[in-house]
């Protein structure tokens, strides 16, 4: 150890430096789900074999969730949150920076309108900032809409 007379002074001064060494031993995982091992075949869950809302949720996760949140209290993402989107006017989430194209689209989001949009976003709203996320599988598009219908205040 350092000579005692200066030690207090020195350590007091170095407190200003970030001291990362004071953490306790970290706990083990609370829950560990082993889905598969490397090299194992992928887990396949066919769309048709489950109910459309569950299928839509999975398709949403794969195709939409990178940009869009599904909950009301979610922070802003790259795209607007889709909680309560069914029946909503286009470009109407407060505080979201929509493109001029989306603001001027005049659309209201019915199920078929959404299916059309996600089949070809730039075709339906030319100039929209949504330049990713097209869903090529019509069954998946339909399932996503069934899932979106479950989001929003009930009744």
């Amino acid at each position: 150890m350092s000579p005692p007379p200066l030690r207090g002074l020195v350590l007091a001064a170095t407190v200003a430096l970030p001291l990362a060494g004071c953490a306790k031993k970290a706990p083990d995982p609370i829950e560990q789900i082993v889905v598969r091992k490397p090299g194992d075949p992928p887990v396949v869950v066919p769309l048709a074999s489950t109910d459309p809302v569950a299928a839509g949720k999975r398709a949403f996760a794969a195709s939409c969730s990178a940009c869009h949140a599904a909950s009301a209290d979610a922070a802003k993402g790259v795209g607007p949150a889709l909680y309560g989107v069914i029946g909503r006017k286009a470009a109407s989430v407060p505080g979201f920076a929509y493109s001029a194209a989306m603001k001027g689209s005049g659309l209201t989001w019915s199920g078929p309108e959404i299916e059309a949009l996600i089949a070809n976003p730039q075709g339906i709203v030319p100039g929209t900032s949504m330049n990713a996320g097209a869903v090529s599988d019509a069954n998946a598009r339909h399932a996503i809409v069934q899932y979106l219908k479950t989001l929003g205040p009930k009744g």
Binding site: M1, P18, K24, I30, P38, A61
Partner: protein
């Protein structure tokens, strides 16, 4: 830990293969050979700090204990060593010192306690240095921060090691050739003796030099003898960054093993725990291997990063309740206001007290008061937090970009319950850090995931996670009152604020000639984790102080430059910097309507920087068109690198001034990606002109941070001059939405 008992300061030795190694020795006489393991090849326990290696092929390698995060430290430090060594710059290479505990940077620790000058008395050097080495080691001080690399390690270690090695080479040549040492010339990595016509490379004498006596405090060059120092030499790290071969943390690979990828999401409210997760959708998604509830965060490990992140996005988590669950920005602000109200005119912890400020204000002809506010600011390094880790056989190895490799090593060791000697931290280039990578949360996360899953794992944070799980520049409120006499002279200055981190004295106005000063802190609890962001407390204090000084100038009916100039009557170096930047900017010359200049001056990390910003109003929004910057850092070792740091500080400071605002809702950060947390881009970058004054070659100031603090007030002062709108709350653009 061995008790430090020796006076030994620098030591030398020879590596197998004949390379000379010179460095700061903790225990002189230890076989330098053992360094091979880290700086050459093969394992081994090293016992000496070494800073320069000279190989048979005449390559000089500077072994640098600081990380390279774009600030140019590797080049500047090599430059300082090579100059004292009289090495051929074309044959100089840089090596990142291994994070093994023997490359601690005592000078950085020392900077915080007892500043030293390059000509500190010799008798004090060994004792102090030994002490600081020991303290630095205890505190894991292998830090790159505090704008300190050049002015501490460069000035006191690299130069010393270079000069000592040069002395030993000369002595070896003189002995072999049988001539007086004074007749041997060392230049451009060559030794020569004019009378006999003998000459040899440094490399040829590397081994012989290691047997020569090593001077404990070799004489260093006077500035008139500098050949490399003070020159704008090209950065050694740039070619690899241009051709793509440079390896950043994100580029890490584990030799011979396939990596798996982890995406993580921590509880959004500080202190909350992840109680339960619903991973129903995630477990059916492609590439997913494992899903983990780690207690404080959720992780998905997959074959690819995107697969892991996509699966993570589908996981619903529930969190434990905390006291902060309902907190929003307005409530935090109210908390600060309450603390400041309670402190009043004289309460709180006194930081500076000169004269009777309260009394001086009572008798003043004019009293000015103002309240300023800043929000939390995130670092937003372009390379998001990431770390690659492998845990096997009770040992852990990580590859990451960090400013504190030894602290990361200790933090990992503690988290995994293993010894620090069982953890290896491999340092890669940092894709920006700005103080964020002074924290070791992310290496610990990666190590825990690697341990739980058994996979070598590359963990990468999403941009959203990076923005929401930062260690933020604190939000703060600062209140001022000042009194002026009838002639506009400042009689008293009374200031109180709530947040204090580092460095000491950021709040002071001692350079201004004000007879009565009271500066206080009224402590108020924070909510988010706070950390050091480029220029640390100066980033908000510069804005507070220099905005208020501007208000005083206008209240006194004086030109803001002339007002500061007269306040700086007793601070000649500040005054010279201020006058120079005013000349550069053509201060006082007419400008078009709607365009104006603002000025500010802040000393931070040993460097005085004054800036003038020229702002024009475009479609009702301010545009920063031009910035002039003058700095006095004592002596600028690499003018090109120094100017780049001033420019970088100004651009980064513009982002924090114009745009950065982290806000809270329900206890969590609202911003996520660059759409909600924007940065200044190329189209908004002003023309920047940088000049400097070399006023003191002995005690140097830093470069990485001091360019930042003056820019926010300079811009806000210009906006006031252009529009009459006084901005007392950042970010600026929130006033022009």
């Amino acid at each position: 830990m061995n008790k430090w008992t020796r006076r030994g300061f620098i030591g030398a030795g020879v590596l197998t293969g004949g390379a000379l190694v010179v460095g700061v020795a903790v225990r002189p006489g230890n076989p330098v050979d053992k360094l091979r393991g880290d700086v050459a090849s093969g394992p081994g326990e090293e016992l000496v700090n070494a800073w320069v290696k000279i190989d048979h092929d005449n390559t000089v390698t500077a072994i640098v204990p600081h990380c390279e995060m774009g600030q140019g430290a590797h080049t500047a430090l090599a430059q300082m060593l090579a100059d004292e060594l009289d090495a051929d710059w074309a044959k100089v290479a840089v090596m990142q010192a291994p994070a093994n505990g023997f490359y601690v940077v005592p000078d950085t620790a020392r900077e915080f306690v007892a500043k030293w000058s390059v000509d500190a008395p010799n008798w004090i050097e060994p004792t102090y240095n030994g002490l600081f080495t020991q303290v630095a080691r205890l505190a894991d001080v292998m830090i790159t921060g505090g704008s300190s690399s050049v002015r501490t390690t460069g000035q006191h270690t690299m130069r010393m090691a270079g000069a000592a090695a040069r002395h030993m080479l000369v002595a070896a040549a003189a002995r072999k050739w049988g001539v007086p040492e004074g007749e041997v010339v060392a230049e451009n990595s060559l030794l020569s003796h004019k009378a006999s016509g003998k000459s040899a490379t440094y490399g040829e004498f590397a081994e012989a030099a290691s047997h020569e006596h090593m001077p404990q405090t070799p004489p260093l060059k006077d500035v008139s003898q500098f050949k490399l120092m003070g020159k704008g030499l090209k950065r050694l790290d740039i070619p690899a960054k241009v051709d793509g071969s440079a390896k950043f943390g994100l580029d890490a690979a584990v030799p011979g093993e396939a990596l798996r990828y982890a995406a993580v999401k921590a509880a959004p409210v500080p202190g909350a725990k992840v109680e339960a997760i619903n991973a129903e959708a995630a477990r059916t998604m492609p590439g997913v291997l494992q899903i983990l509830n780690m207690g404080d965060f959720v992780a998905v490990v997959a074959d690819g990063y995107w697969q892991a992140q996509q699966a993570l996005n589908t996981i619903e988590a529930s969190y434990s309740k905390t006291d902060g669950d309902l907190l929003d920005s307005a409530m935090l602000r109210a908390r600060f206001a309450k603390a400041l109200d309670a402190a009043g005119d004289a309460g709180g912890k006194s930081l500076a007290r000169r004269g009777d400020a309260v009394g001086a204000l009572k008798g003043a002809a004019k009293k000015v008061t103002a309240e300023y506010q800043v929000p939390f600011v995130a670092h937003a390094a372009m390379e998001p937090m990431n770390c690659t880790a492998r845990v096997a056989g009770g040992k852990c190895e990580v590859w990451t970009s960090t400013q504190v490799p030894l602290m990361a090593r200790s933090a990992i060791a503690k988290a995994l319950g293993i010894g620090a000697e069982d953890v290896t931290v491999n340092q890669l280039y940092l894709g920006g850090a700005f103080g964020r990578r002074l924290e070791s949360d992310y290496p610990v996360q990666a190590a825990r995931i690697a341990k739980a899953t058994g996979y070598p794992v590359k963990m990468i944070w999403s941009r959203e996670e990076d923005t929401r799980q930062d260690f933020y520049r604190p939000a703060d409120t600062s209140r001022f009152s000042a009194g002026l006499d009838a002639g506009g002279k400042v009689l008293g200055w009374n200031n109180v604020f709530t947040q204090l981190n580092d460095p000491p004295g950021s709040w002071d106005v001692a350079h201004y000639d004000i007879p009565a000063v009271s500066i206080r802190r009224a402590e108020a609890d924070m909510h988010l984790r706070f950390g050091s962001l480029r220029s640390v407390d100066h980033s908000q204090q510069g804005f507070f102080i220099e905005s208020f000084v501007d208000e005083l100038a206008h209240a006194a009916g004086q030109d803001p430059f002339e007002f500061r100039r007269s306040l700086l009557a007793k601070s000649p170096r500040h005054k010279a910097v201020l006058e120079k930047v005013a000349r550069m900017a053509g201060w006082g010359s007419p400008l078009p309507k709607g365009t104006a200049r603002g000025i500010a001056i802040v000393k931070s990390f040993g460097t005085i920087v004054a800036e003038v910003a020229q702002v024009s109003m475009q479609d009702g929004r301010p545009s920063v068109d031009k910035v002039w910057c003058c700095a006095d850092a004592g002596y600028v070792m690499n003018p090109d690198g120094f100017a780049a740091q001033m420019e970088g500080g100004i651009i980064y400071g513009l982002t924090t001034a114009l745009y950065s605002g982290i806000t809270l809702k329900n206890g969590a950060v609202e911003q996520a990606n660059f759409d909600t947390y924007p940065m200044v881009r190329m189209d908004e970058a002003p023309d920047i002109e940088v000049a400097f004054i070399n006023a003191d070659t002995r005690e140097l100031g830093g470069a990485g941070e001091p360019g930042l603090p003056p820019i926010a007030p300079a811009v806000c002062n210009a906006i006031f001059a252009a529009t009459g709108l006084r901005i007392r709350e950042l970010p600026v653009m929130s006033h022009f939405a």
